[in-house]
Structures are given as structure tokens and as C-alpha cells.
């Protein structure tokens, strides 16, 4: 992705419109990170539009596929119950956009572990993202852990990954050791994927 000479400013009024504009943006060879981030932020979350994708699991967070982006990206909705969090993970050389649709999510950034992964991983920064905010991360920025730290409210987030990927590495915070995991969808296009349990990634 590069910065184009003129950055268009898009406003998506609905989730459907957001998806349509994303399709248009990604049909070109050059897509700007800033443009996509601004577009994702411009959509004001309306629960009625995404309710059918927001399928929660009581044990852990879920990944619910919304759109396959004509093969250029995956758009999905993640549902986080109270206290649910992810492992520290990378993004398999892809771009990752994360927009909060409901509630709050804490994002903790980590440095890549050193060679051989010895010793505790270094925390770079952390922040709490609020409704409608959109964060961006890629492997060149670092690794992160995402958690719903609320004990009373659930959270919902909208994720775009380009190119799409179905496996990534998770990292043990205490040692830096990594482990490859496959990721699955709890539901696709609003339909529960039979047999697929919610992602059981290392949550340590």
C-alpha cells in the first residue's frame, strides 16, 4: 500500500455502503492505509446493521466472517464477552484494521522477541479504543494483544485483513516463544459454522 497523491475522504453511511466502498478501493492496485482507516472510522456503528454477525460464545471471543472482499481482503466481526482476550499475535505479513463497534478494547503493543525468543517480551505501549475508533497494525509495527478488560460489558469489533490469512503465530509473553495457530470462523455471513468451536488460542 502506498500513499496516493490525493487522498480521497470517504464517508460510509451504513455497513453495506462501507463494504461497497471497500470493494471499490481494493479493486485498484494501490490502496492507502490512511484512506482505509479513515473510511472505517467514518462508519458510525449501527447495531441493527451488524447484529446478525455478532454471535457470542461464553468461553472465548469469536470471529464471524462478514465479507470475503473478492479475494482481496477479509472483513469480519469479533465478539468479546466480559474478560475475553487474545494471545499476543502477529499478522502474517498482512495489514490489519480494527474498528470498535461496541464497548471498548485494550490494545497492548509488543516488540518482536529477540532471536531464539529468550526472556520476557517488551511491552511498547497500550491504549483503550472506544466506540467507532479504528486502529491499524502490521508486522512492521509489531505484535499486539487485544482484550476486553470490562467485567460488565461485552465488546464488538470490525476487522479488515488484507491479504486475508488463516494462520498466525501466538507468543508467550514470559518467554517470547512462538507457536503457529490456525484460525477458524465461528460463523460465516451470519450462519453458524457447524462443528467449529470459537478460536482456542493461547490466552496467556
Amino acid at each position: 500500500m502506498e500513499q496516493p497523491v490525493q487522498t480521497e475522504v470517504w464517508k460510509a453511511q451504513t455497513l453495506q455502503e462501507l463494504i461497497q466502498i471497500l470493494h471499490r478501493l481494493f479493486s485498484s492496485d494501490k490502496v492507502s492505509v490512511e484512506e482505509v482507516q479513515a473510511l472505517m472510522e467514518s462508519y458510525e456503528s449501527n447495531p441493527v446493521e451488524w447484529m446478525k454477525f455478532a454471535q457470542f460464545d461464553q468461553y472465548r471471543y469469536t470471529r464471524n466472517l462478514v465479507d470475503k472482499g473478492n479475494g482481496k481482503f477479509n472483513l469480519m466481526i469479533l465478539c468479546w464477552g466480559e474478560g475475553h482476550g487474545s494471545s499476543i499475535h502477529d499478522h502474517t505479513d498482512s495489514h490489519c484494521f480494527m474498528k470498535i463497534l461496541q464497548g471498548n478494547l485494550k490494545e497492548t503493543l509488543f516488540e518482536w522477541p529477540g532471536k531464539k525468543g529468550t526472556g520476557a517480551m517488551t511491552k511498547k505501549s497500550e491504549r483503550v479504543l472506544g466506540e467507532n475508533q479504528c486502529a491499524y497494525i502490521s508486522d512492521s509495527i509489531g505484535l499486539h494483544r487485544v482484550e476486553n478488560t470490562s467485567h460488565t460489558e461485552s465488546a464488538v469489533s470490525l476487522h479488515l485483513y488484507s491479504p486475508s490469512f488463516d494462520s498466525c503465530n501466538t507468543f508467550d509473553q514470559r518467554t517470547g516463544h512462538k507457536h503457529k495457530v490456525k484460525m477458524t470462523f465461528y460463523s460465516q455471513f451470519g450462519e453458524r459454522t457447524p462443528g467449529a468451536t470459537a478460536v482456542s488460542q493461547e490466552n496467556n
Binding site: 457470542f56 466480559e82 474478560g83 493461547e202
Partner: protein
Amino acid sequence: MEPQEAAGAAGGGCGGAGLLELELPRRGAGEAGAVAAELEARRSGETRRLVLSRRLSGPLPAGLARWFPALEVLDVSGTGLAALGAELLELPRLRTLLAKNNRLGGPGALPKGLGQAPLARSLRVLNLSGNRFAELPAALLGLRGLQSLSLGGNRLHSISPEIQALSSLEFLYLGGNFITSIPPELANLPSLSYLVLSDNKIQSIPPQLAQLHSLRSLSLHNNLLTYLPREILNLVHLEELSLRGNPLVVRFVRDLTYNPPSLLELAGRTMKTRNIPYAPSDLPGNLVRYLSLASNCPNPKCGGVYFDSCVRQIKFVDFCGKYRLPLMHYLCSPECSSPCSSASQSSTSQSESDSEDEAIVAAHRMQKVLLG
């Protein structure tokens, strides 16, 4: 977390068979009366879900059960209630009660007689997160049918052992309190499958917790744990275990405060390890009892026994160098340990990768849990 039917993200509006969502006026004199009047005006024998979403200045109206006798789900979260009263006791079919983010917690926050009310049999889900409870309210101990209880984000300093009375409990959320220890009685909940104890001040886990055979998910992150009891390897159905944010011991640690055994202990050990025969008539009754209490040293290579005097040793179960879980072992003496560490002088790196044979088998199970 309550089942999906109650964890709805959608906004309000009436409509949908059996759903009544009531938006209250922001202010006005006699607001409590206005709420009662509006609810009475919308009374229905068919309404199954009622959501009140504005601040209330007083308690819930007493006529609630008369106006909505078929009510199954009641959501009064964020209404500012300081107490739930007798108006609940007459609701015969209530299955889900959500009262998050209120001012509940003082004496009388829950009505007396809750355990004898019809809803003691019907209630399955109770969410009291984001309130001010400093201890488990005794009134709810009679809810024998309760499957899901949340007291997240309250002010609990301990968990009452009487919680074992909630014999149907499957889901228990206690994250975000000030809990310092876990009562072993928690292990007497036979159906418990999801236990959240994160963001507390817990220093140790009782080994009895390993008796929770149905446990699928255990959340312990952000506490004060330095080790786990080795019995935790027995939780064969565990699929998810969170441990981050605990000061888990990373390096091999020996307990240096080993107290030398007493003469009684040494004599007892000699009797046992040399199989010196004795009959109950040979010894005073208290010594016969004492001899029956010998524990075997967990080191399978050591045939030793101990009575009261043992060394706590933190042993690391290493999953192919990827993860280290400090587990608490009891050994009969500081000299007793697995062959590798006693043979080698450079104790740290060598002993960190040690695993007892039995621990390796259990470790494979735990590896699956921790690494997915």
C-alpha cells in the same frame, strides 16, 4: 456472560412478540409514580422480556408481577437501583435477571425469602456485575436452579464457602474484585465449567480445585500467583487457561526455609521405610494414628515417606521449551529430587528442563490446553 438472548446489542424500541422495552422520562416530579403508571398501562399477560433502561429514583413498582406474570427476562441494568425487593418474589417464571451497574450491595439489596420464592426454581441466569457487593449475598444461596452467576466488578474480598449451595452452577464470573483466596468448597460445584477469577489479588489456588472435572475454562490472569498446585494437571477437560499478569516464578526455586524433621518424624519414617512390623497393641493409640498418616514422596524414584516435614519445591513442567508452568511439589527432603537435577551441579538450566515421567504425560494434556 448471559446467553445470547439477553446479551443483545441492539437498541430499544417496542415490537417483537413478547418484548416490551420501556424508555423512561428523564425527569419529572413523582418519577417513581410515573414509572409505575406507565408499566401498569402496558401490562400484559404475554410479555416475556422487559428492559428498563433509564435511571429510577426509587425501587421497582410493587405491581410488577401482577402486570407481567409471564415475565421470563428482566433487565434493570444501569437504572441506579439500590435494592431489589419483594416485587420480584411473585414472578413465577423468571429465568434471567440482569441488574448490572446499579447501586446494589448494602444490607437488604436482595429480598429475603428469595430462596423460597417460585423464582428460586426458575431462575437460571443472574448478573449482578458492576455493583457494590462486599460479600456473596446470603439471600441468593437458595437459588438451586441457578446456572450462571456474575459478580464481576464488585467489592468482594473473599468467596463464601457457602457458594457450594448453588449446586447447578455452570458459569461463575468473579473477575475484577479484591479476592485474596479461593475456598476449597468451590470445588464442590459439580457442574462448574467456566470460572473467571481474573483481576483479583489471589496468591494461591487450592489443590482441591482440580476436582472440578467439568471445568473447561479457567481465567486466572492478573492475580498474585507465583505457582500453581501440581494437581492442576488433572483438569483433563480444560480447554482454556489464562495466566498472564501473575508473578509466576520463572527460575527454579528451592524453598530454603526447610525445617529439619522432629524426632517423632524421623522415627516414623524409619518405621515405614524399613517396614518394621508392629501391631496396634505395641504402641500408644496416638502413635498408631500418626504412622497411618505417612505420605509418599512424589518423587517416583524415591521410596521415602514424610509426615509433617517436607520441602516445597517448585518444579517446572516444560512443554518442549515453549512454555514453563511452575508447579508446587512436596518432597521428603531437600536431597530428594529427580535424578537429573541431583546429579548435575549447574542446577538452573538443567533442572528447568526436567520433568518427572508422570508429569510428562500430564504435561502433554496441559500443553494442548495452553498451546491450542
